[in-house]
Amino acid sequence: MRKLDADRNAGSISIEGLTRRFGAVHAVDGVSLDIRAGEFLALLGPSGSGKTTILMSIAGFEYPDEGRILLGGEDITWLPPNRRNLGMVFQRYTLFPHMSVLENIAFPLKMRGLGRAEREERARAALRTVRLDQLGERRPAQLSGGQQQRVAIARAIVYRPRVLLMDEPLSALDKNLREEMQIEIKHLQREIGITVVFVTHDQTEALTMADRVAVLDHGRLQQLGAPRELYEAPQTEFVAGFIGETNFWSGSAAAAAAPGEAVGVRLEGSGVMPALAVSRVAAGDRVRLALRPERLRILPGAAEGVPALVTEAIYAGNATTLMLEAAGGQVLRLRIPAGAGLPEAVAGEAVTLGWQAADARAFGVAP
């Protein structure tokens, strides 16, 4: 039995050049990722992005074709799952239906050869951690979905693993319970200082819970960063489109620019507008402009900007969304938060649009 390691780095995970192929498909394609000890990291991506395969490789249920996985500096790539000493919470709880709640939680301790008394004591303590002290004697089937999920968490942390892996653990819960559990899991993680690797396809969940988010698409790591970074400064077109709402508008660079520099973009059917180059662009290069709906502004009077026609105004309480059509048939969404005193518009009105250069990110388009 492995004891809890006092070493601060014991809970760090290094994934180096991980590749997993299923036939001709690269489920994971050369992903490298460093997860710090005590960090809450979300693996975010659409289905087929490889996020679950990465988690299963860490857990030991998948073996990679290339690359290795280090846990606290130790290579665990080929170690069988039962000897990795990681905690895992599955999508559908997977509590053993023939055991009581307490027996479920004590199971990993039994497998580690602990005596009955210590098992009982530690299982009860874990049950208290997830605030289910009274339900130890019940069968899993007698618990609600949220309670089952808490038991699954208790079972995964009772042997004090260095890392807790979670495979879309909240997807089976309804919306309210899900939001409640998100906060609860976050608190629990801080409390016991465990490293958490959390797979989800829900961007809100990832942004809410994680210290850092790894965005994946088609088996490749698109961007790794803090939630704010991902939203404010997406590094690829995919990330800009996947996280939050985004308008895309094609155009060409009016001048050459290095990454992070301001650049004018000649928009299709419109004039030149300011933007920020994400990658290096040469004059005349095709670019795609990403604009957040809430960063678009209706300019007052005869200011210089992009003329557009309001086709629809949708009132949603906390904000009003305008559907706009600009020259060249470009369709845009614009969001006006309520109560900020910003100018509004009604359907059929002609308006002029503008934005800050920093809010328009220009991605170079591969020719």
Partner: protein, 272 residues
Amino acid sequence: MSGGAPNRAGRMAVNAAAYAVTVFLLLPTLIIIPMSVGPERFLRFPPAGFSLRWYAEYFRDPDWVAATLFSLEVALLTALCATVAGTMLALALVRGRLPGRGLVELLVVGPVIVPHVALAVAMFLVFERLRLTGTLLGFTMAHTVLALPFVVFTVLAALYRFDAELERAALSCGAGRLATFRHVTLPLIAPGVVSAALFAFIISFDEPVVSFFISALDRKSLPRKMFEDIDYNISPTLAAVATMLTALTVLALLLGFVLKRAAERRAAARSG
């Protein structure tokens, strides 16, 4: 919904046909029961009175008792061997990477597809040479082969119903492969395994064809003894034996049914 008069008439005709077939299925077997308690030497329906003399006759006859005990012995051993070997194979098929899997699957259905008379004659030939006819070992091996397909398919069904993710959960909890099987897989497929054993028992206990050929004069199974008696004289003792055999089958089926219900309740509770 109502489909109109002709529709309803058609449905009633189909229903009537279905229930008539049910009666046809059950009646011949059930009619034996009242006849087995008739007092006369000749079977009559309805019986002329009530008497258990033919049951007593059966228990007094050392030949019948010996054949029954031998069949019991064979059936118990068969249930044991077939269940163990069949469960192991089912595990290899579902959880393993078995080389030549297609061939193995063909072998599984083999004993069902090959006519039993062909198998029986072939076994007779080889068993004679190996001096296995009329032995416990010979009977057990033969019946185990006949029962194996049913065991394999029953356990396979249980394994497919079983949520494999639970095994992963056990592994993630630190359980090794053997501990996972012992603490998680086996308890959850147990109803399937037990009904497989029941199937194997009934198949062996009732098996007439192979038994007919590999019995010896002094050591025969119950079906072989019945076969001989039917061939020579349709005595009421046979009706008593048939009734008891049917009762045994009903019991086994009921037991299987209860087990299946228990397993289903467990599965339903899990998904609920």
